[in-house]
Amino acid sequence: MLAWIKKKWNYFAIAALLIFLILIPFDWFLSRYTSLMIIIGISTMVTVGLCLLMGYTGQVSLGQAAFYGLGAYFSAVLSKTYSLNPWLAMLIAALATGAFAYVVGYPIFKLRGNYLAMATLGIGLIMWILFNQLSQYTGGPDGMSGIPYLSIGGFTFDTNFKRYYLVWCFCLAILFLSQNIVRSRTGRALRAIHGNEAAAESIGINVNQFKLKIFVLSSVYASLAGSLFAHHLRHVSPQPFDFLASIKLVVMAVIGGLASIWGAIFGAGTTRFLSDEVLLGFNKYPQLDIIIYGLILMLVMIFMPEGLFIAIKSFTFWLKVNWRELPSIMKRKRKELPNQMKHIFRRLLLMRLWRKAEP
């Protein structure tokens, strides 16, 4: 019985997660976090795209908030100013954002080397400037309000409770779709690119086109998330789509694990929880959030380059296999430590002497 549970561990974990998620908005459970969880769900959608991009193409987008913002603004403008059906607006927004990502990405991915980072950084900044400047369409720095709710038939998503389930349906759908993609021929092609580009090319995989497709996919995810965001707050302004927002998304992806799908929930969740709950209380220490993000990015990428979540998973896996030997390992480490320190000191000393002896 226990062995069967251990084997199907993945399914149990997902089932537990689903039950947890379903119960949150109820008052007797954790309903005061409903609003935060909506934002986490929306952020997860963007993060998954970013994780796929970073994990499978090895390139970073430092301007993902631009696509997020495009989705939000397209939805806002189309559904409010032009009174289009909000669902149609969302679809158009996703297509438009995807097309934009395609056009921008096409020349960049044709190049070897990593120019996506700077290019997306620039795009993110430009988009933010445009959101601020094109006030006739976007309402300028104050943004625009009065965006309609989403509704199906007569059912309107007008409370946090209802929108929570809507957002998480979208989010989980995207996670499942992404998982299907990764486990398929397409996913193998992506992992091949990640593993060895030259070999992937030699067996018929058009590397540049795949990278571009993932970039477009990530932009579409971000756009959908942005649309949901607009219909949640019913107000859009440039503020949530600035450079810092793009950085936060990278932090989410880094914590969630590059090339990880379910880790995106973890990444988005912890980062959002950190920024929207924990750090609000530290007003006396300004910019603390930025400092922490910087530290997280540096420390995680130095010591756990696959991402925090994946490192944790690997560690628990190692633990699962080796838990019996833990006490003996600890004893051994404690014995070895003074020796190791001696070793390090000796080496440092030798280096100092050797350098002094050089002409």
Binding site: L111, N180, S184, R185, R188, G195, S202, G204, I205, K213
Partner: protein
């Protein structure tokens, strides 16, 4: 006698001032095992890279089944001779035709194996089926029936190729957990999975012991029996002389001799090229 599967006419490749391949004319007959030999630095791997489409040639043509292999889109080819070549040469290097050549039926292996270390043995070979399958993002995301069917076929074919090279029992191991000799076999299985008409093997015997080399010879003969033309670059003379039906000798980028094993062994130019050269069959 059918049309040669591969021909090169006046093929040259220069890297800056270094001429790696110098006006080489080759004819590879369909269905035969051809070996390309020569001292180190003779341009053999460069030749493979040109045929496989890794980079464009500086001049000359490559014909596959009579049709020339182009490296750049028509609009670049139209404009390129009229403009400063240097500006476009980098652009050309960006237009990667090698993935298209795999679809056309040219497969290759690498000197340094280049397996996908983040996948299992089976997945490596399944990835090789990429040009012979079709379903894409939508089919994958929604798990359409056509996609699932194709996936089953891919799985079965991959197992078939794995069994063909003798790695059938290692399907779920990580690819890099295999010893070098078996990694090379895996690379060949992966190349076979692309269902090629022509397969280029770059030093398949390097790093193998005598037994493994014998198994490799048998494998190459079996590949030939499948109707696939084999071209291999090798340093191990006994291996080459044992299976090659035609041998081409390169030295410093030029073709200096070709013929059957007996003819080539006696050719004076070939002996001169190798004189003082260590033909070390155990080099990796």
């Amino acid at each position: 006698m059918s049309q040669p599967i591969l021909e090169t006419k006046n093929l040259s490749k220069a890297f800056g001032g270094l001429i790696a391949v110098d006006k080489v004319d080759l004819t590879i007959d369909t269905g035969k095992i051809t070996a390309i030999i020569g001292p180190n630095g003779a341009g053999k791997t460069t030749l493979f890279n040109l045929i496989a489409g890794v980079y464009p040639q500086t001049s000359g043509e490559i014909l596959f089944n009579g049709k020339p292999l182009k490296h750049s889109p028509w609009y670049v080819r139209a404009v390129q001779p009229k403009l400063n070549k240097k500006i476009f040469e980098d652009k050309l290097q960006r237009h990667d035709a090698s993935h298209k050549r795999a679809a056309l039926g040219i497969a290759r292996t690498f000197q340094h194996v280049h397996l996908f270390g983040n996948m299992t043995v089976l997945e490596n070979v399944m990835t090789g089926q990429h040009p012979r399958s079709k379903y894409g993002f939508f089919g994958a995301a929604l798990r359409l029936p056509k996609a699932r069917h194709e996936e089953e076929m891919i799985n079965l074919n991959a197992i078939k190729y794995l069994n063909m090279v003798g790695l059938g029992k290692y399907t779920n191991q990580n690819a890099l957990s295999l010893p070098l000799g078996q990694q090379k076999l895996l690379a060949i299985a992966r190349a076979l999975a692309t269902e090629p008409k022509l397969i280029l093997l770059d030093e398949p015997g390097a790093g193998l012991n005598a037994l493994e080399k014998r198994e490799l010879s048998d494998l190459i003969k079996r590949i030939r029996e499948m109707g696939i033309t084999v071209v291999l670059v090798e340093h191990d003379m006994p291996l080459v002389m044992g299976i090659a039906e035609w041998i081409i000798v390169l030295d410093s980028g030029k073709k200096i001799a070709e013929g059957t094993a007996a003819q080539v062994q006696k050719d004076r130019k070939v002996i001169a090229a190798y004189l003082g050269e260590e033909v070390d069959s155990a080099e990796g």
